[in-house]
């Protein structure tokens, strides 16, 4: 009995102490309701932290939503993927097709209170195009679309001169993944040219940033509202809340719990949880087609796959719709064309191009005298859809009698093989491109990373990039598509649809093909 009492004393003391501490802590904390939200702040989940906001140095996909709220360019995309003036009030193209003259909007001010003039536009251009810049669009404006010079004849006018006429110029100038060719104030950098912080003209200005945790943007009270119809990145963009916090939540399950608890107001969703969120009475889902494109790429110099009949056989064996539905839990449909449905250039492919045919695949294999040589498809698990689609494709190819294997690599290694063009086949995804010919530009070209180096395709692409006439662009795009189906440098699988889970306390949240969530014109009910 005495033994029991002694041991119980030790146990009781320890458990009592721990229990008491926990109880005190919970009592203290439960006095606050963590479901109560800041009335003037919207919290948006980011899947990972952004690299930074200096477009010359450290932009990434996560920077785009912050850039879109803080900086603006001369032009911007609208939701139908056409381009409209943003900081420009209008623009004209010279008769030679090589000069673009932009008139700037009146009354626009930077976040430091200084007015927008053509001097800042020129400074911004020189900043992002500097020799040591890795700005995402620098290679475009120093390559296929060569900008020979930029002049500021007066405070309200800026002129871009191209060395050759190029209709794609305005679309590339507005690219979201290039921060819309941002107009920054020179005070964004210090006297030594070192980045200090982004000073733009957007409806929000940069607030607090905690690396690894969140980036906040605050309402810019002196924002010059446009009267144009709001769409995409342009038009009337009114900040209706004081603060937007872009908070890093890497785990998808934690994002869902955060959305349901009210800690998050908006979060990207994976396809498998869309139905769950739609059933939640306090939440809703907004979705949109995007230009993000998934495909199976071929190494065109591979001894086996350089035979076009082999590539056609593989294309015939793949049921795109089954692949798309398989990876998206039935949410997406397949597409035989790299041109996204949201694009101005989209033409619906014929059913013959889209439907799989094992008979046709087997006939082509027999014609190519295929004898069961292995075909290695590179995939990775860091981006799960690339791996999942590879598994589905492998089973389809095996059903057609093709000896397909999956080689799972780390994403960095796969990217390295992609850049060098050293692979037999790759399960791959391309970031969204909103410029009409961008759908083709990402695969056509002489660079080692481009999958389709065919001379005729390159000529067509260059022609399509040069013209400013949408009808001619579409005609060229259709020609490229016919050639794409014939040459099969890649098998187009599907374009991704983006889903956002949104708290019902918000009004005005709408997904768009521009992918990135917009929080201007969004209010708290």
């Amino acid at each position: 009995m005495a033994q029991d009492m002694g041991a119980k004393k030790v146990m009781g003391w320890t458990l009592g102490q721990v229990g008491l501490s926990a109880a005190i802590a919970l009592c203290l904390l439960s006095s606050q309701s963590y479901a109560q939200k800041t009335s003037s702040r919207i919290t948006v989940a980011l899947e990972e932290d952004l690299r930074g906001l200096d477009p010359r140095r450290d932009r990434d996909g996560m920077s785009d939503p912050v850039h879109m709220h803080v900086v603006e360019g001369l032009l911007g995309y609208v939701d139908d993927l056409s381009v409209r003036p943003m900081l420009a009030s209008s623009f004209t193209i010279g008769d030679d097709g090589r000069s673009y003259t932009f008139k700037l909007r009146e009354g626009v001010r930077f976040h430091n209170g200084k007015p927008l003039t053509s001097a800042e536009v020129k400074w911004s251009w020189d900043y992002v195009m500097a020799a040591d810049s890795i700005w995402r669009c620098k290679a475009v404006f120093d390559g296929p679309i060569k900008v020979a010079g930029v002049e500021a004849p007066d405070a309200r006018t800026i002129v871009f001169r191209l060395d050759q006429p190029n209709g794609s110029f305005i679309y590339n100038l507005a690219r979201t993944d290039c921060a819309g060719t941002p107009i920054l104030h020179p005070e964004s950098v210090d006297a030594d040219g070192k980045w200090r912080g982004v000073i733009g003209t957007g409806p929000f200005q940069l607030g607090e940033r905690r690396i690894g945790q969140y980036t906040e943007v605050k309402r810019f009270p002196d924002y010059a509202l446009s009267n144009a119809e709001p769409s995409g990145r342009v038009g009337k963009k009114e900040a209706l809340v004081e603060t937007v916090r872009f908070t890093v939540v890497a785990d998808p399950s934690a994002r869902l719990v955060g959305l349901r608890s009210g800690d998050l107001d908006i979060t990207p969703l994976t396809a498998e949880v869309v139905d769950q969120i739609e059933k939640d009475p306090k939440l809703h889902v907004t979705s949109s087609d995007t230009t993000v494109w998934y495909a199976l790429l071929f190494g065109m110099n591979d001894p086996l796959l350089k035979d076009v009949r082999m590539r056609r056989a593989i294309a015939a064996a793949i049921d795109r719709t089954a692949v798309a539905q398989g990876v998206s839990f039935g949410q997406w449909s397949g597409s035989a064309t790299p041109v996204p449905g949201a694009s101005l250039l989209y033409t619906r492919p014929s059913s013959e191009d889209e439907v799989a045919s094992l008979t046709r695949a087997k006939a082509l294999l027999a014609e190519a005298k295929y004898a069961g040589q292995p075909i290695s498809i590179i995939a990775n698990k860091a981006l799960p859809m690339m791996f999942n689609q590879a598994v589905i494709i492998q089973s389809m190819l095996q059903a057609a009698g093709i000896n397909a294997n999956i080689e799972t690599l780390e994403w960095g290694l796969q990217l390295d093989r992609y850049t060098k063009g050293t692979y037999q086949a790759q399960s791959f995804a391309y970031s969204g491109r909103f410029d009409p010919m961008g759908a083709w530009e990402r695969i056509v070209g002489p660079e080692s990373r481009k999958v389709w180096k065919d001379e005729e395709a390159i000529t067509l692409l260059n022609k399509g990039m040069k013209t400013a006439d949408p009808a001619e662009m579409k005609q060229i795009s259709d020609q490229l598509y016919k050639k794409f189906i014939n040459d099969v440098p890649a098998v187009s699988l599907y374009n991704v649809k983006v889903f956002y889970g949104v708290s019902d306390r918000l009004a005005g949240v709408k997904a768009s093909p521009l992918e990135v969530v917009r929080v201007w014109n969004v209010s708290i009910k």
Partner: protein, 314 residues
């Protein structure tokens, strides 16, 4: 003792030198680099060359290594290729977060697990022992991310007692900071309690069978004194070694828990940096982990003689 300490410190330097070389070489053996990952599928070869030159990746490995070591010796761990932040400041800020969680969880785990393990050993083969062993086995079998999510759903979502996402430093707002760390600390403590209870129980069972325990009982010593002064010190020594190993391991990063609870800790930093091939940060984190391991083992070795004087005599 001084000679022993000096010998251990010189061994520590040798170990850390080996860690530095191994870490440097291993991160570079993985194909692809931070430049290609940063630029993605749209990067041109010219831009790749600019970035590689900027970060010194165009230099031969021995030159890169010498620059790194030279920087380390002057306290400069380099700059993150991912965020542009100085590596040392970045790592120390993140390490603080991990350290708070780990130290709090381990303190709780030790305070609970050691007496409970002792009690279970003392009551070996009873219902109480069976219950303790079952719960301990269950706790160490549960994946930490699952337990974390479960606690988030119950205490954050259903009861709304605790916040779900975010982190605030203790220096900024103590009560809010406490609210953010309770769930991760509880998750980690529960998992480690499972491990430590089993170890403490097994060690105590061994000690309870020894003759000096029988002798203490035979001379009429109260049972609680037998447990506290004869069984506990001898049974705790092996558990202390295990605590040292666990602590070193956890302080190196609790990436899964940090991801679930959105904590800006060192584990998450390391994982993100590995994926981005942020060599300076990966090297810095792994070197710090090496230092932590070596230091904790040194401290454990220094503490060991307190519980087992035979070690000091040896």
């Amino acid at each position: 003792m001084a000679t022993y300490l000096a010998r251990r410190l010189s061994m520590m330097l040798l170990t850390l030198s080996l860690v530095a070389v191994t870490v440097f070489v291993l991160v570079r053996l993985v194909p692809g680099d931070s430049a290609s990952l940063m630029l993605g599928e749209a990067g041109s070869l010219e831009q790749l060359a600019i970035l590689r030159a900027r970060w010194g990746l165009d230099q031969p490995w021995p030159i890169q290594f010498l620059y790194w070591i030279k920087g380390l010796l002057s306290g400069d761990f380099g700059v993150s290729t991912r965020t542009g932040e100085p590596v040392l400041a970045l790592i120390l800020a993140r390490f603080q977060v991990s350290a708070v969680i780990v130290l709090a969880a381990m303190t709780i785990a030790v305070l609970v697990a050691v007496p409970v393990g002792l009690y279970a050993a003392w009551k070996q083969n009873s219902w109480a022992d069976l219950a303790v062993v079952s719960v301990a086995t269950l706790l160490l079998s549960i994946p930490s991310f699952w337990l974390g999510l479960l606690l988030l759903v119950v205490f954050g979502l259903k009861l709304s007692w605790l916040p779900i996402l975010g982190y605030v430093g203790f220096g900024e707002d103590f009560s809010r900071a406490l609210s953010f760390v309770i769930l991760p600390v509880a998750t980690l403590a529960l998992i480690e309690i499972g491990v430590l209870v089993r170890m403490a129980r097994a060690s105590a069972i061994e000690v309870l069978r020894l003759e000096y325990v029988t002798h203490a009982r035979a001379k009429g010593m109260p049972e609680w004194r037998v447990l506290a002064f004869h069984v506990f010190p001898n049974a705790f020594a092996p558990t202390l070694t295990l605590i040292g190993l666990i602590l070193g391991n956890l302080l190196g990063g609790i990436a899964v828990l940090e991801t679930v609870f959105t904590l800006p800790g060192m584990g998450r930093l390391l994982v993100e940096s590995i994926f981005a091939r942020d060599y300076p940060v990966v090297q810095g984190c792994l070197l710090l982990t090496g230092v932590i391991f070596v230091l904790i083992n040194l401290i454990v070795d220094m503490l060991y003689p307190i519980f087992d004087p035979r070690v000091a005599r040896a």
